[in-house]
């Protein structure tokens, strides 16, 4: 038999052996998984509940449902979808108003010395309206000057106060974050803010009218 043919046969036998080992390992893995699942299914099937225990269980479930309802917001609340830049004014499961907004850009700013760093995300979770302002004045924080490449003025400096940029209304929800108006209406629907939520004039007016201090805000 030629040497080349011999090598080919040995190689084929070796590959065949590898395939067999692989198949055996695969079958064993499948078997182990199936037997584990069968164990848990058997465990579930072997349990029995008598009618009294079942009725107690149903009653308990009703109580748990009532407790759940107790946690849900009372009255109107706001839901903000930061991915799609939408705000919803809701009551129960009904959406009373929906509007396009601008949420945080998620961009990062560092001061020139590299001592401070800001990530412009809109915070997520449960919040509540803690202040309502008409004709709000923006008190510019340090990052606003750093972003514009300007010197940071002292805390009480007039340079920090800017009128008109936040629209006619603003609602604070903690840590310097606000739902407010905007001059940049073309950017509604995009993530461009420093974490606040910018809303168009008409929608902002409607939301401002419905929301009170304490109104829940859910941001995701």
């Amino acid at each position: 038999m030629p040497k080349g043919k011999k090598i080919l046969i040995v190689l084929l036998i070796f590959v065949g052996f590898l395939i067999l080992v692989f198949a055996a390992l695969e079958i064993t893995g499948y078997y182990l998984n199936a037997s584990n699942l069968a164990f848990w299914q058997k465990f579930l099937k072997n349990q029995r509940i008598d009618t009294n225990a079942y009725n107690r269980l149903l009653k308990n479930n009703e109580n748990l449902k009532k407790k759940m309802i107790g946690y849900s917001p009372k009255g109107v609340y706001l839901v903000i979808d930061t991915a799609n830049n939408l705000i919803f004014l809701r009551k129960g499961n009904v959406t009373l108003r929906q509007a396009t907004v601008s949420c945080g850009s998620g961009n990062v700013l560092e001061d020139l010395q590299g001592n401070r760093r800001w990530i412009f995300d809109t915070p997520r979770g449960e919040f509540a309206v803690d202040s309502k302002l008409r004709d709000p004045v923006w008190i510019k924080p340090d990052w606003a000057f750093i972003e514009e490449g300007k010197e940071i003025p002292p805390k009480q400096s007039d340079e920090r106060y800017e009128e008109g940029v936040l629209g006619e209304y603003a609602m604070g929800f903690g840590n310097g974050f606000f739902i407010h108006g905007t001059l940049y209406t073309r950017m509604l629907g995009r993530n461009v803010t420093h974490g606040c939520i910018r809303v168009g004039d008409d929608d902002l007016k409607a939301i401002y009218k419905e929301a009170t201090v304490g109104t829940k805000i859910y941001i995701y």
């Binding site: 390992l25 695969e26 079958i27 064993t28 893995g29 182990l32 998984n33 584990n36 699942l37 848990w40 465990f43 579930l44 099937k45 349990q47 029995r48 509940i49 008598d50 009618t51 079942y54 107690r56 269980l57 479930n61 748990l64 449902k65 407790k67 759940m68 309802i69 946690y71 849900s72 917001p73 609340y77 839901v79 979808d81 930061t82 991915a83 799609n84 499961n93 850009s105 998620g106 961009n107 990062v108 700013l109 560092e110 020139l112 990530i119 997520r124 979770g125 449960e126 606003a144 750093i146 972003e147 514009e148 490449g149 001059l183 073309r186 950017m187 995009r190 993530n191 461009v192 995701y220």
Partner: protein
């Protein structure tokens, strides 16, 4: 006389015992399906109540109804419908589980702002927005959940040859890798693991990645044949 008295007592004792004895099959039991439904409902409500006490967002992976819900305080914020799913490994308990990590090949990067005063020009039509937006999020990734659970999220393959080829590769991986991992885990006496593979619409997959922040908790409602009930007596009481 004394024999008669003892005899009477013996007969009475046996009679009372016979009357008070209720055979096991005389107690009425609830059909298995109804009982399990009630237990599942209880476990789910308890898990959700625990999560609702906090102010954080949480997810419900309802694999039975093929939907993923984002909630807070019991309020449904968003719902995504899954296109298909499959499971491997250990059954899943109905308890709150934390998201340990998100793993993806290409992690989206945040833009660094160069201070130059461009804020003033942001409303001009030619301004390019540099932002960390949902469209920059990956659509194929793995959510690593506590308790050894990994949820792979992917999208339906696009109508391109390479995308279809990649999908064949993913399917091949799904059918060959888990059995070997199970065997290896058994050999090394590691904790059992669970793999869930979910196919979503591309936009939904990106939005889910966006919403799934690290540390967020979730409850997974698995199909019944994939459910783990750790303590039956605890569950019914």
């Amino acid at each position: 006389m004394i024999y008669k008295l003892v005899g009477l007592i013996v007969i009475l004792t046996i009679s009372v015992g016979a009357v008070s004895y209720v055979p096991d099959n005389a107690v009425s039991y609830v059909p298995e399906n109804d009982a399990l439904t009630a237990i599942e409902e209880k476990l789910l409500l308890e898990a959700e109540l625990e999560l609702s006490k906090k102010s954080d967002l949480y997810f419900i992976f309802d694999l039975r109804e093929k939907k993923i819900q984002l909630k807070v305080k019991g309020v449904l914020l968003k719902e995504w419908v899954t296109e298909s799913m499959r499971f491997w490994g250990n059954p899943i308990p109905l308890t709150p589980l934390p998201l340990a990590n998100k793993s993806t090949l290409y992690k989206p990067k945040r833009e660094n702002i160069t201070p130059n005063g461009k804020e003033d020009k942001k409303d001009s039509p030619e301004t390019k927005v540099q932002a960390f937006e949902v469209v920059s999020m990956p659509s194929t990734y793995t959510l690593i959940i506590g308790g050894g659970i990994k949820i792979s999220i992917r999208t339906k393959p696009e109508d391109r040859f390479l995308a279809k080829l990649a999908n064949v590769g993913l399917n091949l991986k799904w059918y060959t890798a888990p059995p070997l991992l199970t065997l290896w885990g058994k050999y090394k006496k590691q904790k059992p693991f669970t793999l869930v593979d979910i196919v979503l619409d591309k936009k939904d997959a990106q939005a889910l990645y966006w919403a799934f922040t690290e540390g967020v908790e979730c409850v997974i409602i698995p199909p019944r044949d994939f459910m783990m009930l750790l303590d039956f007596n605890l569950a019914i009481n």
